[in-house]
Amino acid sequence: MTVTEDPATAEVAPEREVGKARRRKEDARLITGRTTWTDNMVLPGMLHMSVVRSPVAHGKITNVDVSAAQQAPGVVAVLTGRDLAEEQGSIPCAWPVTADMVNPGHPSIAVDEVNHVGEAVAVIVARSRSAAADAIELVDVDYDLLPPVLDMEEAVKHEADLCHDHIDSNTSYHFVFDAGEAGTGGDTEQAFADADVVVSRRFVNQRLIPAFMEPRSVVVQPQGDNFTMWSATQIPHVLRVMLAMVTGIPEHKLRVVAPDVGGGFGGKLQVNPEEVIALLVARRLGKPVKWTETRSESLMAAHHGRDQIQYVDIASTREGDVQGLRVRILADMGAYLRLITPGVPALGAFMFPGIYKFPAYRFECDGVFTNKVPTDAYRGAGRPEATFAVERIMDELAVELGMDPLEVRRRNWIQSQEFPFTTVAGLEYDSGDYDTATQQALDLLGYPELREEQRRRRESNDPVQLGIGFSTFTEMCGLAPSRVLGSLSYGAGGWESASIRMLPTGKVEVVTGSTPHGQGHETAWSQLVADQLGVPFEDIEVLHGDTAVAPKGMDTYGSRSLVVGGTAVVKAADKVVAKARKVAAHLLEANEDDLDFSGGKFTVRGTPGTALSIQEIALAVFAAHDYPEDVEPSIDADATFDPVNFSFPHGTHVCAMEVDTETGFVKIRKYACVDDVGTIVNPLIVEGQVHGGLAQGIAQALYEEAVYDADGNLTTGSFVDYLVPSAADLPHFDTGNTVHVAPGNPIGAKGVGEAGCIASTPAVVNAALDAVRHLGVQDIRMPLTPERVWRAIHQGGDGGDRATAGSNAYGGAQTETTAGVSTPQSSLGGDR
């Protein structure tokens, strides 16, 4: 047999970059730290700022004595809230979720009153970082203590103590979404009145701390009437606009740079008080100023996340067909409204129905002020809370009906042939197949064997019981269609911008407005552009994070970067090809319509041997000696993409959990998940995002909780007591994917950054409950500390409150001793 080579296919088509598990090109510098972390910045004449913080949760400032600090060695200036009161404005809140929302105003530095432990009351500017740190304890502040407002359910009662005495209640807003009124569902009250079965539960979605790896850091350099700010932020573009509005420094005189940023998880989606203060101080002194927080400051003063009390009612027929969902939540705002504080629960409002076909739905939320640090975005922002509620209540319904929890879900979820499907919350889910993802996840887990083992352990009354928990979730990603944001009263759009610059040597600069803080944009964007333009991966550089380099952008959060920002890049690349096509036609003396573009080369159909690469065209237009009359000598292009809809990743997460009934210790035996995130550009990055998300979601279920004592001290003030799990505490993850391409963007991607974090928490809690339901346990409050699990098993209830005293390790290294005061009421009898 003779093999003949067909000359037309002899040239091997270049391997597609999209879908390739490339190692991330940015990792070497990020991991070694040999990069532009903000704190690595050193400028000539730079001063260092430290922040004196309130040790009390609520009080009037009666006196601030800075005289000793002013005379300390190396100290250049000490400024109080009074000194900056006229120029500091208020930290902006971009999301007034209702027309009558009450915003008490948020000074960057307290002037008359402090409202949470850790609030800034003075700043020290010194010639060295240690001099600035040394002078903190020399500032003497007197407070008249006010009763701290700490418990939301107490705070909303009539005649409760007030967090802010200039407003008349602790409620910031009352937000309602009613499907009946919106025309997206039936009458909820009627649905409940007609239902065979109603199950009601109160869930606590505890307060969490984003705990990003790189602490917040900011450097401000004044130069004439211009200011450059480097900040460890997720949102340099938003920050620039907001700082201009807050400080009055004209936007065009302000450049914001987010250099390499070491994680954020929403915690750096903020206009931070310290950023405003650093800018004001640099302006006042005319010198560069740096502030880098300590980990203690980060835990107590950077915004927190979650913190909702959820009252959830589900209505169903006896056969398990859901009839209605009613959700009322108290959402802790903390002491002030920061950038999107009130919007987080409002965003979640639309996700409580999950993947189920509820005919009726009503959501009500009260935003409540307490004397704690403000809450704001944290990985998932509203959607994990919603997913937790619906996935927990579906299990409770199954128990009530005596049905298999998966069967109840299956009866009610949207079928694959029903997409696109408009939910009772009015969202149009784009694509997916919940059955297939679930079946694959069960296969990965080895479901029948584990169910069998569970039965054996129950029968033998084994001290270690086994449970299996599910979470069949979806999330709204790709934030966000600008018109939808407008309808929700958000203060900005959700588009993203990109531009592509074709350099004379054939190299390519991709400018993205989607600023990474660890996601791997440089690698993924290079893969996208390599395919679109047919240039080598290595020839592409991705530029980001500097408003002077990437002037337009909406930055990175809400699993939006690839879906929105990546699409802008693809569209810019399409424009580059379109512009190059005209030049190619001219140089090849052919009709544009006769040109094929493939593998980075233009060829003339039917004329073998003629070819011109896009990189050659880049040089040709640089020289500009010979180009068509009617075009500009450039093939560079910009694009701005505004999505029409969200994207809706989904998946099935299954957790098998061992519970030691003697000690209450829970241990994940096996964890399997199958996520549908649409087209996968880089499987390694997707896998990494899923793993990291799982770690954080599992951590909410089992480990993390920001705990305040009765005086409002954060007792989880160090990583000794705010428990973040390490790899040693987490199981192997069995992960898989189904791929249903997102119809809303040319890449087909849905977003993966938050999936693991949103999905996993209820699966873990459901698994633990499944292990001990037969012992009479109905609920265990998160995190499932061994003590809570043990109490729930042996004493009933949900495990109850934890003692609030920090543990005794390190000699009690929490804020109570580093910054705060304690009273006998501060703890449940902890002795230290």
Binding site: T715, S726, P786, W790
Partner: protein
């Protein structure tokens, strides 16, 4: 997280160290591995005027055989303890407990003597030293003295070490006979301190438990012996039921704290469960 300014001395012998400590005055702090002291200083919970770093005192490092006892230099690191053949042979309980201390990095720097002198009730090694009837050899301006572990730990983060004194070595009696050991540690994440832990050494003879020594970690301001359980086990049958019965009194005489990880009643319960498990394992049941 910058500590307040301090003077720093780095002696190379015990005599030099004693002198440096004497010269350091009241506010002197002795640094062994620094794994507890440095964080506390960085948090400004401690602001000593002088830190005497024992890191270069070679004579305080290493393990030697001294007849019926092992002598472990106070500056022997956890990592060295874990891999030391003499410790493995004669004081396996110490090696087993030390393996649970913090993380690999901490064990490279943290020291056996430092952990004992720091006397953190949540630390793992004090209860082990107590269970093994170790003796602390203390050097001071007036020479050396030896303090039994049972008298060494006096309160929360407090030992009988006087001003000007340094813990130089620890004498650990070799266990003679058919001993089994177990360190049963309970914590929420791998690198964390013990919520409660139990150190057990059990000698079996003719199907019975001839002797049991049980040290409790974090069941009070100091490490404690589970004396009632020890008494109940002496001469008891080496059976799961006998062990379980004896373990029920493990929390007698303890005064555990209540904190985020556990309230006192739960700690008392844990002490019983963990004692049962530790003794069962140590007895080879």
């Amino acid at each position: 997280m910058i500590p307040a300014a301090f003077e720093y001395a780095r002696p190379t012998s015990v005599d030099e160290a004693l002198q440096a400590v004497a010269e350091g005055g009241e506010d002197v702090k002795i640094m062994a591995g620094g794994q507890s002291l440095i964080p506390v200083m960085r948090l400004r919970l401690a602001a000593p005027s002088t830190v005497v770093d024992l890191g270069r005192v070679a004579e305080m490092r290493g393990v030697r055989d001294d007849g019926d006892a092992l002598v472990i230099g106070a500056m022997t690191t956890h990592a060295e303890v874990i891999t030391d053949p003499l410790v493995a042979q004669h004081a396996k309980l110490i090696a087993e407990a030390t393996e649970t201390v913090a993380d690999r990095q901490t064990r490279r720097r943290g020291t056996f003597g430092g952990a004992l002198a720091h006397a953190d009730p949540a630390g793992d090694l004090p209860a082990v030293a107590l269970a093994l009837d170790a003796e602390m050899v203390v050097a001071g301006p007036n020479g050396r003295r030896t303090v039994p572990a049972s008298e060494f730990f006096v309160d929360y983060l407090t030992t009988t070490l006087d001003e000007g004194e340094i813990l130089v070595e620890i004498r650990v009696p070799k266990l003679a006979g058919d001993w089994g050991v177990r360190y049963e540690k309970f914590n929420r994440v791998a690198q964390a301190w013990s919520i409660v832990a139990v150190a057990a050494a059990v000698r079996r003879e003719n199907g019975h438990i001839a002797e049991a020594r049980i040290g409790l970690t974090n069941m009070g301001p100091t490490p404690l012996r589970a004396s009632a359980t020890e008494a109940a086990l002496n001469g008891a049958a080496a059976s799961p039921d006998a062990v379980a019965a004896a373990a029920r009194s493990a929390a007698e005489g303890t005064s555990p704290s209540s904190d985020l990880n556990a309230q006192a009643d739960y700690r008392e319960h844990l002490a019983q469960v963990l004692t049962r498990r530790a003794v069962t394992a140590a007895a080879g049941l």
